[in-house]
Symmetry: none
Subunit: 249 residues, 2 copies
DNA sequence: AGTATACTTGCAGGAGTTTGCACGATTTGA
DNA sequence: TCAAATCGTGCAAACTCCTGCAAGTATACT
């Protein structure tokens, strides 16, 4: 039994029963509890479930968690957000993808900024609704609960009929050779359209994401024009990207 | 039974009944009262409920509920919401319009309910994203900031290609002769499509809205099939509507 | 093919959690 | 005020988790 098979089994089981028990899984999959624990840890790190003492539960089971779910590396993301906010020009049209970094970005936008924002992220639309001078257009579709973004034909159609000034792409993984990759197939479809719907594609990137890979490919690394990171100028981790003509801020 | 499951059960129970008893819970969940006490302490520390002698009560019972402070007639709306939630059938397809009453409605939906919800309201989509068994489809479009709903061609298109079982319409004004009226022209357009996209049109209605009028007309009173109100049976304010064949609950 | 490297897995044992029980303190309501 | 119910704390048993390690397996490179 391959690790991936176990993961699939675990995720299906969670979807069906809202929870899984370490002991039960170890029994059903005929591996040690330690292995199951490691599987659960991995899935938990990927945000696919919530690990608890004795097993794991569906993220949606706990009604209080999603609201104040701790944002990983929040301080870093705030710094990135401030930098990124300065890159948005007055009266421009901007696509803002989902993700916690981008949510910080919209929180950091100055109240005086006038712009039009296209998004498929519920929290981002919600945050922007409080902004006095930003026009918000929401791309409809089926809601992916975990990421709180819409996906599907409708969302894709919205972005395909658009050519914006900038697109702030939410990125899970970036690898200088393999490209930009995602963990969810449907999100991948939408992001592929997004990056073709703007003159400039930017991404807020915490260092942990650099040189990692996920199963589904959004596009080549070159699709990205600018990386907003908190790495010092000339950090070697960025070297491969400058070689590709990608500007880092 | 995992600790988290107990917590979820307790929170749901509180949401439904506004209170829980230690003994009752220990009975229902088949653990000792001590364990329940510890659970309540933990939830209380997280600010999810208020622990009292003998059990715990909902925080929202307390006068200073900062979260929903500004919702007008919240208590009434909660009562309507509970009534309305019972009208939604398992596995049905439901359109839920924006508005604070409808937001309470989705909060009151039992966690066990499976259904598909179409909405154009950001807070409602956000709330439903935490619901384990409800599929959410968001109708895109330009975001109206005050109401936090989308409007425009895209939203209209989504609802026109739909025939749902029920539509919970958010209503600003209802007059037995003049009909259902709105204050915003663009919202009016969307609502007009909504009421034609479902077999049954329902509305949660606090008495203050009855026999009032606003500039833009959504449709005739008869478009409405059911009114969920907190008026006693036979209250004279409802007479004109029963005359029109509208059922009130 | 053969070697090196990374990854995966099971195991041991020490650390950490959870739970029910006992017992004294506190609260409740007549 | 008193008796009954409820609470908080400390404790021990059972269970679960984490860490490091070594054996096994897959993959890459020469």
């Amino acid at each position: 039994m391959l690790k991936e098979e176990r993961h699939t089994y675990i995720l299906e089981s969670i979807q069906k029963n809202q929870k899984v028990l370490t002991l039960e899984l170890s029994d059903a999959l005929e591996v040690s509890e330690d292995t199951i624990r490691r599987d659960l840890k991995e899935l938990s790190d990927r945000g696919a479930l919530k690990k608890v003492h004795g097993g794991a539960i569906s993220l949606s089971l706990n009604p209080f968690d999603y609201k104040d779910r701790e944002v990983y590396a929040l301080d870093q993301k705030r710094i990135l957000a401030t930098k990124a906010a300065e890159l948005i020009k007055e009266n421009s049209v901007v696509i803002i993808d989902g993700g916690t970094s981008n949510l910080e970005l919209v929180k950091a936008l100055p109240k005086s900024l006038s712009a039009t924002v296209f998004t498929n992220s519920i929290p981002i639309a919600s945050e922007l609704a409080a902004h006095p001078r930003i026009e918000v257009v929401f791309a409809g579709g089926r809601v992916l609960k975990q990421a709180q973004v819409t996906v599907g034909e409708e969302a894709i159609k919205t972005f395909s009929g658009l050519y914006a000034d900038q697109c702030f792409l939410g990125i899970r993984s970036l690898h200088h050779q393999i490209g930009i990759t995602e963990i969810d197939w449907e999100e991948t479809q939408v992001k592929r359209v997004m990056i073709n719907a703007a003159a400039e594609v930017l991404s807020l990137l915490i260092p942990e994401k650099i040189e990692t890979v996920n199963p589904y490919k959004i596009g080549e690394t070159q699709k990205l024009h600018k990386i907003i990171s908190c790495l010092p100028d000339g950090d070697q981790r960025l070297d491969p990207y400058e070689g590709l003509g990608i500007q880092s801020v």
